[in-house]
């Protein structure tokens, strides 16, 4: 059983989310903290501009509630905030089927503020890679995330949800034009030289007179400036640059405000009150929110921009419904597979026990009365044992598999165990061996995921 605990743009504004945002370099630390909790079996941590979430599986099916608590406490500890009710009111939790549905919807960009935006799938993949590298993903959760990638792919190819995507960048350009009209006489300043800055530069920079890149690492800033035909400037020159620029796109990973009210006030004096527009796409935010209160200065953060995007995308409701149907279908398939997981170990043991008994009897006979048989005859007898095992167990296997889809599943498992004196299961959700996994897949009728890592987005 898996659970999802976290907060997103739907439950928490950016000023709350930024407290929980986690950069990629500290991700192993958070994953290690999650792994150290006895209540959790598997865990994956996803931190984007819009959401901070942990997908986890509980150490035992009965301990789901404890697992949720453990995850919440790790997230709050990591963010350095107490788990007071005020903080927890921003959190949501999903368990079991709803958790799986949530994972699928997130990866398919159905839970995004901008329906169908393509970035989220890459971000989930990055989180998956980090969890795999940290060894916190097992068979069950890993399978669920893989399935989510398939769902996302289907949604993208079978619906028009991502077509003609209205991106944050395009909204930012529209907004800049709403303020300045033509950007041909204006200067764009990029604070930070990451991927977000590059994406913004591509759309904003096309029409602008100058693009300047101000980054803490000058070399990195210069590299970006070179690729987009702009100029790199030293980080120390930020105040001067604010005096020159008209549109500032900030996307640094700084945990504190890079652009403060005092700094902008000074810059506004230098620029004699000329309009200054900040597009702050960083989480945590780079621009102090009170800067928006200064005359002729406008600050739009990621929530503001996405709100605009969402407005522009209301027409995609129909596509979203089609996508939800895909999610529901995939969810039903995954559930069948997941339920199959509960009977699979029993079936594997039953087969092993039956085959073991028959083979032991065969070996005994071959060592005695049938000692004279040729190797070919012996091989034929071994084959016969295999066939007998399959035929003998076909009906019980079928019934067990069917019962797994109903509430009778656990009773059937117990009955078989008692009748054949099978040993108890290993601890729940132990990553099965390849053989077990393949048997489980065979049992559930759920095809192994055909996609390797090569098909995954980065």
């Amino acid at each position: 059983m898996i659970c999802v605990v976290g907060l997103s743009h739907k439950t928490a504004p950016v000023e709350v989310r930024e407290k929980f945002a986690t950069s990629a370099d500290v991700l192993p630390l958070v994953l290690a903290r999650l792994a150290s909790r006895a209540e959790l079996k598997e865990a994956m941590f996803l931190s984007t501009c819009n959401r901070v979430e942990v997908f986890a599986s509980a150490a035992s099916p009965d301990a789901l509630e404890q697992a949720v608590k453990a995850v919440r406490s790790v997230i709050c500890d990591h963010a350095g905030v107490g788990d007071a009710d005020a903080v927890l009111s921003y959190f949501y939790e999903r368990t079991g089927k709803e958790a799986m549905r949530h994972v699928f919807r997130v990866a398919a960009s159905l839970d995004s503020m901008v329906l169908g935006e393509p970035q989220i799938l890459g971000q989930v993949k990055d989180a998956y890679d980090a969890a795999s590298a940290a060894g916190t993903l097992g068979h069950y959760l890993g399978r669920c995330i893989h399935r989510a990638f398939t769902v996302a792919k289907r949604v993208r190819t079978e619906t028009q949800i991502g077509a003609g995507s209205v991106s944050i960048s395009s909204v930012a350009v529209d907004l800049a034009r709403g303020i300045f009209g033509d950007l041909a006489d204006h200067t764009v300043l990029l604070l930070g030289a990451g991927e977000m800055a590059e994406a913004a530069a591509k759309s904003l920079g096309k029409g602008a007179r100058h693009i300047r890149v101000c980054n803490r690492s000058f070399e990195r800033g210069a590299a970006l400036a070179g690729s987009i035909g702009g100029d790199a400037v030293q980080w120390d020159a930020l105040e001067d640059e604010l005096g020159r620029a008209d549109v500032v796109v900030s996307s640094t990973a700084s945990p504190t405000h890079v652009v403060t009210k005092d700094l902008v006030k000074r810059a506004m004096k230098a620029r004699k009150g000329r309009t200054l527009f900040f597009i702050d796409i960083a989480v945590p935010r780079n621009v102090e929110p009170s800067v928006h209160g200064i005359d002729n200065v406008y600050v739009y953060n990621v929530d503001d921009l996405e709100q605009q995007v969402a407005e522009a995308m209301k027409s995609r409701k129909g596509e979203a419904e089609a996508a939800e149907r895909i999610v529901a279908h995939e969810l039903a398939e995954f559930e069948t597979w997941a339920r199959g997981q509960s009977v699979a170990p029993t079936i594997v043991k039953l087969r092993a026990r039956t085959r073991g008994v028959l083979l032991a009897e065969l070996e005994r006979t071959l060592g005695g009365r049938l000692r004279h048989l040729t190797e070919a005859d012996k091989a034929a007898l071994h084959q016969m044992v295999e066939s007998a095992t399959n035929k003998l167990l076909h009906t019980p296997t079928k019934h067990l598999r069917e019962s797994s889809a109903t509430d009778d599943g656990p009773d059937a498992v117990q009955a078989v165990k008692r009748l054949f004196d099978l040993p108890d299961d290993p601890p729940a959700e132990e990553p099965p061996s390849d053989e077990t996994a393949s048997a489980a897949d065979k049992v559930s009728g759920f095809p192994p995921d055909p996609r390797g890592d090569e098909g995954l987005p980065h």
Partner: protein, 281 residues
């Protein structure tokens, strides 16, 4: 017959301006009326042509020079405002400013109806009077446009600060274009107002009129000049642009309109005397 024709032109102008107002309001109110938005500047242009015809015909009928009588003053101001708007709307990308110019034109046109048309009294005739009136009329026309741009600016600015960007925000011109247009209209109008004030002061001195309305008019005229001078110099020196400049422009225009109100009051009180005095100063 001629008077009927003049009246016909007057009402045709008023109706055309009204239609332009309705078209602009419909366009600003809802995306569905994009066509109305495209037609509206055309209606302003049609109104301006009718308006000009009305002024020419009525001045011929009444034998009054348009720049000499208060009867035409407000009417001419609105016509000039429309003309400048029509010429500048593309250059400054302020098509939608017509939404404010059209109602102003209509208001001024109707207001001019209330001012009794009479020939200027002989003792008020002066060689600088036409210069005084022309400068003031052009100045008023430009200030009307600056006022319209300032109102549109404040609407845009409020929406941007409140982050309400749907609907109206998309249909109004860019914020900076409005600020720039407002500033340029003020810059162009200010020297004309200065000429108006100087000629008005000189002329008032010659006429030596000391009535309460004359004094009020002069004081308000100087106040208008001082307000616009402050808006322009604070902008140049301290960078007071945007919202502050818009408020200053609106305040200046409000005082300028008060000057016209004083004329109107005076025209009711003493029609013959008013006919010679025009606008500020």
């Amino acid at each position: 017959m001629s008077a009927l024709f003049v009246d016909g032109l007057f009402f045709a102008t008023a109706i055309t301006y009204l239609a332009a107002c309705v078209a602009f309001v419909a366009f600003l109110g809802n995306d569905k009326f994009a066509l109305a938005g495209r037609l509206a500047p055309g209606l302003v242009a049609a109104g301006a042509v009718l308006h000009a015809t009305h002024i020419v015909v009525s001045s011929l009928v009444w034998h009054v020079c348009p720049v000499e009588g208060i009867h035409f003053a407000m009417s001419v101001v609105s016509l000039l405002a429309c003309a400048v708007y029509l010429v500048m709307r593309r250059r400054y990308r302020i098509d939608v400013v017509g939404a404010f110019v059209a109602p102003l034109a209509l208001t001024f046109l109707l207001a001019s109806r209330f001012v009794v048309a009479t020939e200027p009294a002989q003792r008020y005739r002066s060689t600088i009077l036409p210069l005084h009136v022309t400068a003031n009329l052009l100045g008023y026309a430009l200030f009307s446009l600056a006022f319209a741009a300032a109102i549109a600016y404040l609407l845009q600015e409020k929406r941007l600060k409140e982050k309400r960007l749907e609907g109206l925000f998309r249909r109004l011109p860019p914020l900076d274009a409005l600020d720039r247009a407002e500033h340029r209209f003020l810059l162009a109008g200010f020297p004309l107002l200065t000429i108006g004030i100087l000629t008005g002061t000189y002329w008032a001195h010659e006429v030596e009129s000391g009535s309460v309305t004359d004094i009020a008019r002069a004081v308000l005229g100087y106040a208008t000049w001082a307000l616009f001078a402050s808006v322009l110099s604070l902008r140049a020196a301290l960078g007071w642009r945007g919202r502050r400049a818009a408020y200053g422009t609106i305040a200046g225009f409000a005082v300028a309109v008060l000057v016209l109100v004083v004329y109107w009051i005076k025209s009711i009180a003493a029609p013959a005397a008013v006919a010679a005095a025009v606008a500020v100063g």
